[in-house]
């Protein structure tokens, strides 16, 4: 069963199309890493995959590049937002006013995995950039689902923490599509690397099959 399929697709708008004639399939169990210079269309591709898979009824967890957190709300409530569609309005209203003990326990455990322990009741506005990014990741992990879509999900955390967080994603999601700029991290996390340059695919292969020269060509001027 294929989760997503593109054949000869053009993504982006009209003359400003970012990606053209794109063919790609995503199968369960794959961890696909998108590589390429900024502006090449990684975010556009992720958005398209998101629409396609949610349209097909898949449960997708999304970690966007700009976090899209509500700064005035606590970490706990921001994380709870990942599952609002699982409940009715009254249940969610109750969670908003006073989160249940069970929800709090679940989120607290998750925060500990992300080195955010003790911050559940802190407003997001009071956090550092790296902490905010991990809250956005926590929201995605809390949501769970068949696929994780991440747009530079660990760009603001330090080098030792990044790989640990990516391991966490690999452990929680059978399938993932993640845009990364750290090549080493990409080789470590991905089962398949997709190199994008100038609106087309430069390579699409397992990490072992992508040579350093190909990788250099991806970013060369």
């Amino acid at each position: 069963m294929t989760l997503a399929r593109l054949s000869g697709a053009t993504l982006g708008y009209g003359a400003g199309a970012v990606l053209s004639d794109l063919s790609l399939t995503l199968d369960p169990g794959e961890r696909l890493v998108l590589l390429g210079r900024s502006g090449v269309g990684k975010t556009t591709l992720l958005a398209h995959l998101h629409d396609q898979m949610t349209g097909a009824g898949q449960r997708v967890a999304l970690v966007p590049q700009d976090h899209a957190l509500v700064p005035q709300l606590s970490v706990l409530r921001n994380v709870l937002m990942g599952r609002l569609d699982d409940h009715g309005a009254l249940y969610n209203l109750r969670s908003f006013i006073a989160p249940r003990a069970r929800q709090r326990a679940e989120v607290t455990a998750l925060l500990a995995d992300l080195a955010l322990e003790g911050l559940a009741d802190r407003p997001v506005a009071a956090l550092s950039g790296g902490q905010k990014q991990r809250v956005a990741l926590a929201r995605g992990l809390y949501r769970g689902g068949t696929v994780m879509l991440g747009d530079e999900p660990v760009s603001a955390v330090d080098e030792t923490q990044g790989p640990l967080l990516m391991d966490l994603i690999a452990a929680r999601f059978a399938t993932a599509v993640v845009a990364l700029h750290d090549v080493g991290l990409a080789r470590r996390f991905g089962t398949r690397l997709l190199g994008l340059r100038d609106g087309r695919i430069l390579f699409d292969a397992a990490p072992g099959a992508v040579e350093d020269a190909q990788m250099a060509a991806l970013y060369a001027d």
Binding site: P64, A68, P71, L73, M81, L84, D85, N92, R139
Partner: protein, 506 residues
């Protein structure tokens, strides 16, 4: 000529042309003697009537709190549904009728009781709150709402991803509205509710200018210190106190079915109460239009246009006063004092004061409107100007030259936007000044009400509402042409500035 200058020139010309058509006579027999007597009294405030002053001020505060709380709650409920035509129409209808007109209508149904005062504030404020809250919700960062899982319910989306983002702006707007509510509440005293206006009127009737001065000083102090005594944690306490205080005010007995009689009989045009009669209706409508609605509209427009020009002049002259690099430390302090007084006293109350001096004509109304609204704009511009000064070059001039060369050109766009925004407010207030005897729409509405011809009063109110809506539309159009941001966000600098009158510290 740049568009802003053209608009200003057009309005100035309209004001000038209106000048010879307006009744500006000094009708008082000896205004200067009256002024001297009042001045002497005002310089010697007499706080002896503590009991009366305290009661009037407490009622003013509690009517304002209850009215704003109820109006705010109703507006909050309406705001998310404002895209529905019915709800939007209701909000427009509610806010196009002035608080004092609402009070006069409610008096017919509920009598002179606490509910009349609370609803007179709450009804128009609900319409205003609904509009502003809806705009504030619309303007929040859309990304958190977009990231929510698909098929998240509308209420959950609103509560988690929109409300928290808008809450800060909503809170400071509500505080600003409370300041407006304190003015509305004070003015409701002039139609008989036990608030400041009532007490002021009785002090004046007794010629007790010292006590009048004392109560006005307390009132200005109360408004100036609003942010000290209205704290978020104290809100429930204040509301509870307001409910208790208002419940202790006696409610007059009204006949059974007063509301039904009002709706099913009183407001129906008299010739139509026994069935449709086109001829009789035309005989009713024709003279009413020619002798009341049109003259009232005309006088309202005349006064409002002259007052708008005066507002602009006062604003331009006064904003420099509160910039230290223009007037110095002492001048700045005096400027602030003058502007605080003129801002805090409602224009209706200022007009009442001027009426005691100059006698009945359009002059007191124009002066009051110009000074009050000019002081509000002057305050906002002056604060912007003060913030600009540190960013100017080090060798920038001082005094009047700074005002003219550096500040005026930079603030002119905001000045025009603020004046256009105030235009509609001035018009609403002008109509209501008729209750003081100036021949604007309120004069005819008051006359119809006191003759218990409510059908005529309602038609006149519709005329006033239509004029407000028309000027609001014209103002929005002009603002959109002069301020790109107004078009982009649905709200320009003017309203953004006006909203946070004195709120920047919160």
């Amino acid at each position: 000529m740049p568009i802003r200058l053209r608009i200003v020139a057009l309005f100035a010309l309209a004001g000038l042309l209106a000048l010879p058509l307006a009744d500006l006579t000094l009708a008082g027999h000896d205004p200067w003697a009256a002024l001297a007597r009042m001045g002497a009294g005002f310089l010697r405030p007499d706080f002896g009537a503590v009991d009366q002053i305290g009661r009037a001020l407490a009622s003013t505060v509690f009517f304002a709190i209850a009215g704003v709380a109820l109006g705010g709650a109703a507006g909050f409920v309406m705001a998310p549904f404002l895209h529905l035509r019915g709800v939007r129409g209701l909000a427009i209808a509610l806010r196009s009728v002035h608080e004092l007109f609402w009070a006069l209508l409610l008096l017919q149904v509920l009598g002179l009781g606490p509910l009349t005062g609370v609803l007179a504030i709450a009804l128009p404020y609900a319409g205003i709150f609904a509009k502003v809250f809806a705009e504030q919700i619309e303007e929040v960062d859309p990304r958190p709402a977009q990231i929510l899982p698909p098929r998240t319910g509308a209420l959950s989306r609103f509560v988690f991803a929109q409300l928290p983002l808008a809450a800060g702006a909503m809170q400071s707007y509500t505080l600003y509205r409370l300041e407006c509510g304190l003015r509305s509440s004070a003015v409701l005293g002039f139609v008989g509710l036990p608030t400041l206006g009532f007490q002021l009127d009785s002090f004046f009737r007794m010629g007790d200018y010292g006590a009048a001065s004392a109560i006005l000083i307390c009132y200005v102090a109360l408004i100036a210190s609003l942010r000290l005594w209205m704290r978020r944690r104290l809100v429930p306490v204040w509301i509870a106190a307001a409910v208790v205080w208002l419940a202790l005010i006696p409610t007059p007995p009204m006949g059974q079915g007063a509301l039904w009689r009002f709706l099913s009989h009183d407001v129906i045009p008299a010739p139509l109460r026994d069935g449709w009669d086109a001829g009789a209706f035309a005989d009713w409508l024709g003279p009413l239009l020619m002798q009341q609605v049109l003259p009232g509209l005309w006088a309202t427009l005349l006064v409002a246009q002259i007052a708008l020009v005066l507002t602009g002049l006062v604003a331009l002259a006064s904003f420099g006063l509160i910039v230290r690099r223009v007037t110095g430390r002492v001048g700045q302090a005096l400027g602030h004092l003058g502007l605080v007084i003129l801002r805090s006293l409602p224009d209706y109350m200022l007009a009442y004061l001027f009426l005691q001096i100059f006698g009945p004509s359009m002059l007191p109304a124009i002066l009051a409107l110009g000074l009050h609204n000019g002081a509000i704009i002057g305050h906002l511009l002056g604060r912007e100007g003060e913030a600009l000064v540190p960013r100017l070059r080090a060798d920038a001039p001082r005094g009047t030259m700074l005002w003219l060369w550096e500040l005026l050109p930079r603030l002119f766009g905001a000045f025009v936007a603020l004046c256009l925004y105030r235009w509609e407010i001035i018009l609403r207030e002008t109509a209501v000044m008729g209750l003081l005897g100036v021949a604007t729409l309120g004069f005819y509405i008051d006359g119809a009400m006191s003759e218990l011809r409510l059908d005529r009063a309602v038609l006149l109110l519709l005329g006033a509402g239509a004029l407000t809506v028309a000027v609001d539309a014209a103002s929005r159009h002009l603002r959109a042409r002069t301020d790109g941001r107004a078009r982009a966000t649905g709200r320009g600098t003017a309203q953004a500035l006006a909203q946070d009158v004195g709120l920047r510290r919160t």
